[in-house]
């Protein structure tokens, strides 16, 4: 996908949330306030356009915490570039979310 592609506000918010350290679907829903029916499809499209990449958490980590493994998302190189251009378009985007510690995958 071209780096100059203009992202929707939703997609830009999701990229910003992932950049801030909210790296799985539910935490992105929580921080953006967007419903699941918006967040997950948007993430599918972002992944298709190679702006984000997904990776399953190691089973051992999930087992240690007695919960099912999560699918984590992180920004790809193209995603970082797209986020930069989106920040110019939506200047308040950067101030939306507080940074969270990145999960260990």
């Amino acid at each position: 996908m071209a780096a100059e592609t203009k992202l929707s506000h939703t997609a830009a918010m999701i990229l910003q949330a992932i950049h801030a350290g909210y790296v799985y679907g539910f935490s992105i829903m929580e921080v953006t306030g967007l419903p699941s029916g918006t967040v997950y499809p948007a993430m599918r499209r972002l992944e298709r356009d190679e702006l984000i990449r997904s990776q399953w958490e190691r089973q051992s980590i999930a087992d240690a915490e007695q919960r099912p493994p999560r699918k984590y998302y992180k920004l790809a190189a193209a995603g970082k570039t797209a986020l930069e251009s989106s920040r110019k378009r939506y200047p308040l985007l950067e101030r939306l979310f507080p940074a969270e510690e990145t999960q260990q995958v």
């Binding site: 799985y24 679907g25 539910f26 829903m29 419903p35 699941s36 029916g37 918006t38 967040v39 997950y40 499809p41 599918r44 499209r45 298709r48 919960r67 099912p68 493994p69 999560r70 699918k71």
Partner: protein
Amino acid sequence: MNSIVNPVFRAMDLSLLHSASLLVPAVRREEWLREWRAEFWHVTDARIESSAFCWQAQREVAAFCLGSFADAQCMRRLAHDEQRKTVSMHSSATQCLLWLALLFVLCATLACLFPGVRAEYDTVLHPVRPNLIVIAATDLNDKQVPAVSYTEFQNWRSSYQRYFDGLGFYRTDTQTVALSATRSGKFTVALASTNMMALLGLPVRAANEAADTNRSLPQVVLSYEMWTRSFGSDPHVSGRTIQVGEQIARIAGVLPCSSWKPPTNPDLWILVPGAQLATANQDTSGFVVAHLTKLGQDAMDTERISIMVRGEVEPWFCGIAINGNAAGPWRIYLFALFLAALALPAVTSLSMSESSFSSHRPSWKQNMARWLFLGAKLALVACIAYFASLDIAYWRIGGYSEIAELTQLAANFLLCLFGFRWALMDQRQRCPVCLRRVTHPARVGLASQTFLGWNGTEMICVGGHTLLHVPSLPTSWFGAQRWLYLDTSWEFLFADLTL
């Protein structure tokens, strides 16, 4: 109460997720459901308290699960888009070139693996030195038989020769050769003067000076055929010792594959100094290899040349020129390509000229792309023909062979001829706008029912750019195929306008 209601809601939520998963394409369904179930676990963990029932929390969890339908639909659309991308590749110019490139890589890889192809290149790279003759006698069957004793050879060498500037001697014998402690066999062994390889101009390959631990042993040079047959083309064969008859000898290297087969075709050559040749079976006849001087070359064309011994002309011997120059695969290929280019008009009546029903013409960029595509196809077909013909000729032959060269010529010619014919025919059925093959052939009219009306086959470009009309009976008013360029009013008929 809570212990009953919460599991009921949980079962309802999970059934929603499972229902939504039915919308997801089967290949992705399992992973999709796994992600949603994991997320559902975390949502439930964050929202639902096991000790109390909260209607608001259950509504939030249910809303979360309902969102899975939107996600499942999205997954379905994405899968459909991918499928359409695959369909749009179908019969496209890119797909055609990729298939040809794949075939080319396959043929080239096979050609690199076949030992016969390597031997053929070896023959071309290491030809026998020019202007050499073998001096022998001929029997009733025109076979070369040994006729020169070592004493005679010594006399010739010690005398001034006008026509020769180099003489080498070898004689052959069948001996038992022990290749290892357990393997032995009868081989044709040539006992040759030490200058023989230099005289023939053949490099001794795999000569490994470092492996020469015992230089006092006689040196053995293996023929290419023996190296491949008895040593399995082992590149580290030099330096090994073998027993030839009663003596131990050291393998000095391997001769390259050659199109020239020396008389009696020795399997291995033992290079020994003159004194040893003189003592062992002195009266046994052998062959003399001689290199012609400039005077000798000129004289060969006009008169009989003779060997002089102390001013006297020796009795007649037969001198047979060594022709060690193979045509080589590249020269054979060029010849076959030339023949195929000559024969192409005979097997195809297709011309690249065409007409159009409308005044519309493709842009110069589209024309350029079309010609470049044709050029790329022809180039790839020519490359495939080169390597495929080598594969066909040498897949069961391990060394140089004249039959293999003939097979290569025939295969090259046929592959080039029919490959080029296919490339031209394929080009004629590609839309001038998108270079995709036209499809959906439909018969229009019947020759028996339309006297002067048009009848033939009509095909359409899946991108909706053109219609191709091919007459079934070429007539003076409709002799060649015609393109009909479609305008934008046709667009609604075609699903994918991005093609």
